[in-house]
């Protein structure tokens, strides 16, 4: 060796070897192999050249996890996979944080105000401006009248559609056709405006109808009982998703974007409102901010009656209610849970309007002024719903760590679906953050008590009576999301069961009083919860071929691709366009997959016997003490994963041993199985519960604030998070504060400044944590006003969420799936972990790992 190498290189090699052996603990064989490769690399490649150096520098961060490992014999393969990963998939750029939104300057109008407000702040001016703009638009649209050529064209177009949907093609012709339509879609997708969106919707609906037509007419093999059984199951599931897709399009054809309506200038004309906060077993800490925020609502003092409806009949609540001066209503029984509670409260109150807030939904001060205008404008309006906004992460967000970086699960519903429903006069009551007209409620006998989802059922009954509903897509309250996946699933089971009950007991398709569009919107709301069984079918469908050799789609693999790909592509493009702000592509699959197993049974049971089943209160405000893996919850996913892995094994075997004309079919099934595995991995990832330490949820913001030290000096700073009992600050410079120092926190609230006594609990450079001193009631209300109840906080939050990018979203799902398997591994029993960990170590790492 000395003959071949210069002494310097040789010493380098020796150093390298020693380093590997001693510092990084490699075995002699591994170390030798490494050295050989190192030598080979230096000999054959110009690693000292600028291009290589640049590449190595770029790769260095992603290689660190690998370099931290104890070197193993298979590491070169790991490095190779890592390189390929980086070359094939561009590393994710860190998402831009949208602090500029959060840092919006506070209102300039300077008026000092006492608590509680007797003279409300005129939100109307803002509202009137918005409304005027809409009216102008509306009148412009009114000028055109329906004319018969349009209807003739419509009939003609319907015939053409029928032709397009049913026209059979040879594979070649179908390929051309598909490419042309995809071209149209991609072209239209770039055009802004609602017409382009509608075009995309119609195109996608057409392509999906064509797919389903083809599935029904050309892909069933009636000769083989197994084939036809599995095939019909899959076809049923596909028909279900097709129906949901079309109904979803109908719902979201035209989100109404309803602006708030102005109230009369004369506040004496404003109506009286009963604000009801039903509670059962939530703790006082959860309820307190809600009540305090309600007290701070800008509404004439004599016209707002706040009631705490305590079904738990707890003395502490009675005392609290008395202390803050709100009504306290209890009843003797617990019949019909929340609906019964509200119904009882209706009997002892008498205001014209009823606002309902769940005990954890903190209303904003503008809530009533924003919502009641429409009731005055439309005497038939019975219900106005506002979104539920959550300032704590839901289990998905917490466990996947994408809180506020991606729309959460219910954003789609409150951002788009309800708004779209509003066009059809079909927005429905969601149990909280809504105002109802007492007269309307009384005409249907109060809140519906027949089902466990009293909210949707109540609004269905209102609609049947000819009342209208409205939806205001401005978050006017915020609350806590469910804590754990188990709780989330429990909540969804309740909704699913309730919807299934309504479907059976008071089916929206039949019965009096509803328009066709309302029936369809309600139908979708209910059908949506039947997704369990179809989803399970999709998660296992390719196995029917791989394991049982049943041709579930009886057509050549190429034909399947030529029909199913456009169906998926067009619905993907269209949904990305429609829902881009509210849900990112492919996430629905994960959400559905997580719930599928759990809602399949209750919905089926409720369909069969709607009167069975109990009400389970959604648990909120809980704590998760440590990271853990919810094995119980994830058991069905593990079973599905095992099945799909068996499918992969079967596919490999079929590729090796099966007939050659089946190769394409096997490959398609294999791709589908892998997709299922990714989705299931995502579901598993959710089941690994992340720790939730703080009892009080911290809300991340970026608000200008100031601190005043004991010596009277005041410094501007930025409030970057707050909770009920404390805040986090960014100081202009480090060393300003010391732990245990007493300071005053100055917060702006409607252009007046409010001071709160606080104590510094921790300092970390320019960041500091403050614990607030015990506050008096007015102070407490003020604190809530200047934090949770700020009028625009939640609206701005939503706008800060980035737009959907389908490919990026797919990459996210892919890495989420892998993450799921990694977590599975981390929590797996040790005997299982070692071999799996070894396999898992080949999985490449992402460049930017989440914090």
């Amino acid at each position: 060796m000395t003959l071949l190498l210069k002494p310097r290189a040789l010493s380098g090699l020796r150093r390298h070897y020693r380093d590997l052996r001693q510092r990084r603990g490699a075995g002699p064989v591994t170390a030798w192999l490494y050295c050989a490769l190192w030598l080979l690399g230096w000999t054959l490649l110009r690693l000292e050249g600028p291009a290589w150096q640049w590449l190595l520098r770029r790769l260095a961060p992603t290689l660190r996890p690998l370099q931290r490992r104890r070197p193993g014999i298979a590491d070169p393969l790991r490095y190779l996979i890592q390189f390929l990963w980086l070359i094939l998939l561009r590393p994710r750029q860190p998402r831009p944080r949208t602090a500029e939104h959060d840092a919006a300057p506070p209102r300039t109008e300077a008026r000092r105000r006492h608590l509680p407000s007797a003279i409300p702040i005129p939100w109307q001016r803002h509202i009137a401006g918005l409304a005027k703009r809409f009216d102008a638009k509306a009148r412009a649209a009114h000028s055109g009248h329906a004319n018969w050529p349009l209807w003739t064209m419509g009939a003609l177009a319907a015939l053409m559609m029928a032709l397009v949907i049913t026209q059979p093609f040879t594979l070649g012709a179908q390929a051309i056709f598909v490419v042309l339509l995809a071209g149209i879609a991609l072209l239209v997708q770039r055009i802004p405006g609602r017409l382009a969106a509608l075009t995309l919707i119609v195109l996608s609906a057409t392509v999906s109808c064509r797919y389903l037509w083809w599935r029904y007419t050309a892909t069933l093999n009636w000769n083989d009982p197994l084939d036809v059984t599995c095939g019909l199951l899959l076809l049923g599931a596909e028909t279900y998703t097709w129906l949901i897709l079309l109904l979803g399009y109908l719902q979201t054809l035209w989100p109404l974007n309803r602006p708030p309506a102005a109230l009369p200038d004369d506040t004496t004309q404003w109506p009286v409102v009963d604000l009801m906060i039903p509670t059962y077993d939530e703790s006082l800490e959860v309820v307190r901010p809600t009540v305090l925020a309600a007290l701070g609502i800008d509404w004439p003092h004599d016209k707002l009656r706040i009631h705490l409806l305590d079904d738990g009949r707890r003395p502490a609540f009675r005392e609290f209610a008395a202390a803050v001066g709100v009504g306290y209503i209890t009843r003797d029984d617990h019949r019909h849970a929340k609906a019964g509670n509200l119904n009882h409260a209706l009997t002892v109150t008498d205001a014209e309007f009823v606002a309902v807030f769940d005990s954890d939904h903190v209303p904003q001060r503008s809530f009533l002024q924003m919502t009641l205008g429409w009731f005055l404008r439309d005497p038939r309006l019975a219900l106005l719903q506002t979104p539920h906004h959550f300032f704590s992460p839901d289990p998905f967000e917490r466990n996947l760590g994408h809180f506020r970086r991606m729309p959460n699960e219910n954003t789609l519903f409150y951002g788009l679906v309800q708004d779209g429903n509003d066009l059809w006069n079909a927005s429905f009551f969601c149990g909280s953050c809504a105002v109802l007209r007492r007269a309307a409620l009384e005409s249907i006998g109060g809140f519906a008590v027949d089902t466990v989802t009293e909210d949707a059922h109540t609004s269905l009954r209102l609609h049947r009576q000819g009342f209208t509903s409205a939806y205001l897509r401005l978050p006017q309250a915020a609350g806590l999301a469910t804590e754990s996946l188990a709780a989330h699933i429990g909540q969804r089971i309740r909704w699913a069961r309730g919807m299934a009950q309504i479907f059976r007991l008071d089916n929206p398709l039949t019965g009096p009083g509803l328009s066709a569009a309302q029936r369809l919107c309600y139908l979708n709301a209910m059908l949506h919860f039947f997704s369990g069984v179809p989803r399970l079918i999709f998660l296992t469908a390719p196995l029917a071929f791989l394991l049982l050799h049943a041709y579930i789609i009886y057509a050549p693999a190429v034909a399947i691709l030529l029909y199913v790909m456009p169906h998926m592509l067009h619905s993907g493009i269209t949904n990305a366009r429609l829902q881009g702000h509210y849900r990112h592509s492919f996430w629905s699959e994960v959400y559905e997959a997580v719930l599928a197993w759990y809602i399949a049974r209750p919905t089926t049971a409720a369909l069969l016997n709607p009167r069975k089943g109990t009400f389970n209160v959604t648990a909120k405000g809980g704590l998760i003490d440590e990271n853990y893996f919810d094995w119980t919850i994830s058991r069905p996913y593990l079973l599905l994963i095992a099945l799909n892995l068996a499918g992969v094994a079967a596919a490999v075997w079929r590729l090796y041993a099966g007939p050659t004309d089946e190769v394409a079919t096997v490959l398609v099934s294999l791709a589908w199985t892998f997709y299922n595995l990714i989705i299931l991995g995502g579901a598993v990832a959710v089941a690994a519960e992340a720790r939730q330490v703080r009892r009080r949820h911290r809300v991340e913001v970026a608000l200008p604030a100031a601190i005043e030290l004991a010596d009277g000096h005041a410094y501007p700073c930025t409030l970057h998070d707050y909770a009920e009992g404390g805040v986090g600050l960014s100081l202009p410079r480090a060393g300003l504060l010391a732990v245990d120092q007493k300071v005053s926190l100055l917060l702006r609230c409607d252009a007046r400044e409010q001071a709160f006594e606080a104590r510094v609990t921790n300092v970390n450079g320019a960041r500091a944590g403050l614990e607030l001193a015990p506050m008096t009631l007015p102070e407490h209300i003020d604190y809530i006003q200047s934090t949770f109840s700020r009028a625009d906080t939640w609206t701005l939050w939503r706008e800060s969420i980035p737009e959907d990018r389908p490919m990026q979203s797919f990459a996210d799902i892919l890495s989420l799936g892998l993450e799921g398997y990694r977590r599975l591994l981390l929590h797996a029993p040790p005997t299982l972990r070692a071999p799996l960990a070894w396999l898992g170590s080949f999985v490449p790492h992402r460049e930017t790992r989440r914090a």
Binding site: A138, G144, Q167, F169, I176, L198, N221
Partner: protein, 733 residues
């Protein structure tokens, strides 16, 4: 080739003596290779060869000799090698292969006639050895070649038969006789239309029986030659030899002996008048299971339900999937046994007018079972259609297979005769043969020298699942005419109703014996193609009558001048004049391409000439009286022409050459051409019509899709905009 009657090939001329007392003796020479339909070579692997032959019920074999020409391999050992001859599983002779191996040899093996039954199986088995010990039983040096000249010589004596109707159709037709049916029909001179019709029904019935054998019905007005024959007579009109026969008082069937010999029988179909005769013929065709005794009088024949279109027994049903069980012609057809398995064959006919898109595939849902092969490598099931290889499936150790569906192309294109096709496809109209060959790769004996392995060879078995199905349902019946091939191979359009209830036969006013024979042959052939006697066929000799009958017309002789225009494709005039219009090959092929194009194929030349020598033609054109009806005319002017026509149409290979709108028959062969007006029969749903036409225009459909989507989107936009405005305005509702 055309002149030779197919039936002559296997039978030597009979040598009947005129003396009634001594039964006539026949000598039959059956070449072995014709019985097996393939050359015979015995090897170590295939050491036996089966040869099946049948003997007619009215014959007794008095002597049988196997005349064997063969060449054994020179490598065979003297003492051990021999050729064994079995007759019906009894050894009847052993030929020692001792001297002069390697050279052609000759041996005559007398077969004991007492062993011969109706169906007989002759078996040749080679016991071949090339080594005393340690030999490879499938060594290539073990072989024996049986020469083409080898034959089976049978001496048959006619048996006196009882006059029993119960034996019908014997002796007139015997299923053991593989030769074409040759059955004279005796009529009185100048037979009436009713008689012709009755004769047609009888011929049609015999046609259904003769099936693949072919049939010919020579017509005489006198006593037939000394052979079995059918005689039609009414009380008023009788052939001369029956003049003294007592009159009957109703439709009557009777069997009597030939006046000249008791060994030939006559089937008398009698009646008071024509209607009785037709009734008797229908009774024979529909109710033969009830007949008994020497004579039977018919009281009533009532076809209870009318036949439905396309319900011919020999056509596969097109309203539902058909299982192989329904296509079975004889028991055990779907299974085979032996060391080397013969292919399992299934015959099927598809109605010729199914509307099939270019690449339409029929699902064959196939299931099969087999004894697991000793070695999986190379063992396979080969599926072939009409002799063309389609697909093969490996035979695994499982012992059963269900490859799901096997897609079988269905070919309509060939009906026009535009191109020669050699692709594995089911042909519409024609008799198709699906064959399933189970091939076992054998590993016999030791491949290594000096290592003796004794292997017991066991027979293999294989069977198709009777539940395997073919699905022809869902195709519309729609066909562009003229398509003479459908007439030649399936009797279409007449066979659409298998009882010929929508067929009107137009005969010349006073038909000659040849023309009558032509009628009977044609109806017999259609019967063979449908499997159902044409009991509802109607006859006329007046074209004026044809105007009022909504039926397909089958015309014999010539077309009336009223139907002949200058556009007429073919005309045979008096004095050996003939005129013909023809289209170029290119025009024909171009016209064939689009199945939904009904423009006329332009003729590019017209020839008129006079010449001597027989000439006939088959012509198809649209009926001048009804739109979706056809006229098929079998044109022949002189008796010689008529004979040429009859002979040609009785030759299966000639039928294959008839296609298009006109087939010109000369003694040198047949020339077919597609020329002139075209039309459609059947019904095509308009959706299919539209889909078919648009299926080749994805660009157009994409444009339509884009346009429709845009229109709908615009409309939605308008409507929704108004709706949104209303929702947000003050004056809602």
């Amino acid at each position: 080739m055309l002149a030779g009657w197919a039936l002559a090939s296997a039978t030597a001329a009979s040598a009947a003596t005129p003396d009634d007392a001594t039964p006539p003796i026949t000598h039959r020479n059956l070449p072995l290779t014709e019985l097996t339909r393939s050359p015979i070579e015995l090897t170590g692997l295939v050491a036996t060869q089966r040869i099946d032959f049948g003997v007619r019920n009215d014959r007794l074999v008095t002597g049988a000799v196997l005349d064997l020409h063969y060449t054994p391999s020179p490598a065979l050992l003297d003492e051990l090698s021999q050729l064994k001859v079995y007759l019906n599983d009894e050894v009847v002779g052993v030929v020692s292969l001792a001297p002069d191996r390697g050279k052609p040899q000759h041996a005559r093996v007398a077969l004991d006639p007492r062993l011969i039954r109706d169906y007989n199986r002759l078996r040749l088995a080679l016991v071949g050895h090339y080594k005393e010990i340690c030999e490879n039983p499938v060594h290539t040096s073990i072989w024996l070649d049986v020469g083409d000249q080898s034959r089976l010589e049978l001496t048959e004596q006619a048996l006196p038969l009882a006059n029993a109707l119960a034996r019908l159709p014997r002796p007139f037709f015997d299923t053991r006789d593989p030769n074409p049916l040759d059955l004279p029909i005796v009529l009185p001179r100048a037979p009436t239309l009713g008689m012709q019709r009755a004769g047609g029904i009888v011929a049609s019935w015999f046609g259904t029986l003769a099936d693949w054998r072919g049939q010919h019905f020579p017509v005489t007005f006198d006593l037939p030659p000394r052979q079995h024959a059918v005689v039609l007579a009414t009380n008023d009109a009788r052939p001369d030899f029956l003049a003294d026969y007592p009159p009957v008082d109703g439709p009557t069937l009777e069997i009597i002996s030939h006046p000249e010999t008791p060994y030939a029988k006559l089937l008398l179909i009698l009646g008071r008048h024509d209607d009785d005769l037709v009734e008797a013929a229908r009774a024979l065709a529909l109710g033969d299971v009830l007949l008994r005794g020497q004579s039977a009088q018919i009281d009533e024949v009532d076809p209870l339900t009318p036949r439905q279109p396309y319900d011919a027994p020999k056509w596969v049903p097109t309203d539902r999937p058909v299982s192989l069980k329904e296509l079975v012609e004889y028991p055990g057809q779907l299974q085979v046994e032996g060391e080397e398995l013969d292919p399992i064959e299934v015959n099927l006919r598809v109605p010729p007018d199914l509307f099939v898109w270019e690449d339409d595939l029929i699902d064959l849902d196939l299931g099969y079972r087999y004894t697991p092969p000793a070695t999986e490598e190379g063992s396979r099931l080969d599926v072939a259609i009409n002799g063309e290889f389609l697909r093969s499936f490996p035979l695994s150790g499982e012992g059963s297979g269900n490859p799901g569906s096997l897609e079988v192309p269905l070919l309509q294109d060939w009906l026009g005769g535009g191109r020669k096709v050699a692709i594995p496809a089911l042909r519409l109209g024609a008799a198709n043969r699906l064959s399933f060959a189970f091939n076992y790769a054998n590993r016999v004996g030791g491949a290594e020298p000096d290592r003796c392995i004794t292997v017991t060879r066991v027979p293999n078995r294989a069977a198709l699942d009777t539940s395997s199905t073919l699905d022809f349902s869902g195709y519309p019946h729609y066909l562009r005419m003229p398509a003479l091939r459908t007439f030649a191979t399936a009797g279409f359009p007449f066979s659409r109703l298998a009882d010929l209830s929508q067929t009107l036969v137009v005969m010349p006013p006073s038909p000659s014996a040849e023309q009558l024979s032509s009628l009977f042959d044609t109806l017999g052939r259609i019967g063979a193609q449908t499997g159902y006697p044409g009991v509802a066929v109607r006859l006329t000799d007046d074209w004026q009558q044809a105007r009022d009958v909504d039926a397909d017309i089958l015309a014999f002789g010539s077309l009336p001048e009223s139907l002949e225009t200058h556009q007429t494709v073919m005309a045979l005039g008096p004095d050996a004049r003939s005129r013909l219009r023809l289209a170029s090959r290119d025009a024909e092929i171009a016209a064939q391409r689009e199945p939904l194009d009904d423009s006329a194929v332009p003729a590019d030349r017209q020839v008129t000439l006079s010449a001597h020598g027989p000439l006939a033609a088959v012509l198809e054109r649209q009926s001048p009286f009804f739109e979706a009806r056809s006229v098929v005319a079998l044109l022949a002017a002189e008796p010689a022409d008529q004979r040429l026509l009859n002979q040609t149409l009785a030759t299966p290979s000639a039928l294959d050459q008839i296609s298009g709108s006109v087939a010109v028959i000369r003694d040198s062969g047949i020339t077919s051409n597609s020329v002139g007006e075209r039309y459609y029969v059947g019904h095509l749903p308009w959706t299919t019509w539209l889909w078919y036409h648009l299926s080749r225009h994805p660009w157009l459909i994409a444009a339509i899709a884009g346009l429709a989507v845009l229109i709908v989107a615009l409309l939605l936009w308008q409507i929704l905009r108004r709706l949104a405005t209303r929702r947000l305005s003050d004056d809602e509702e």
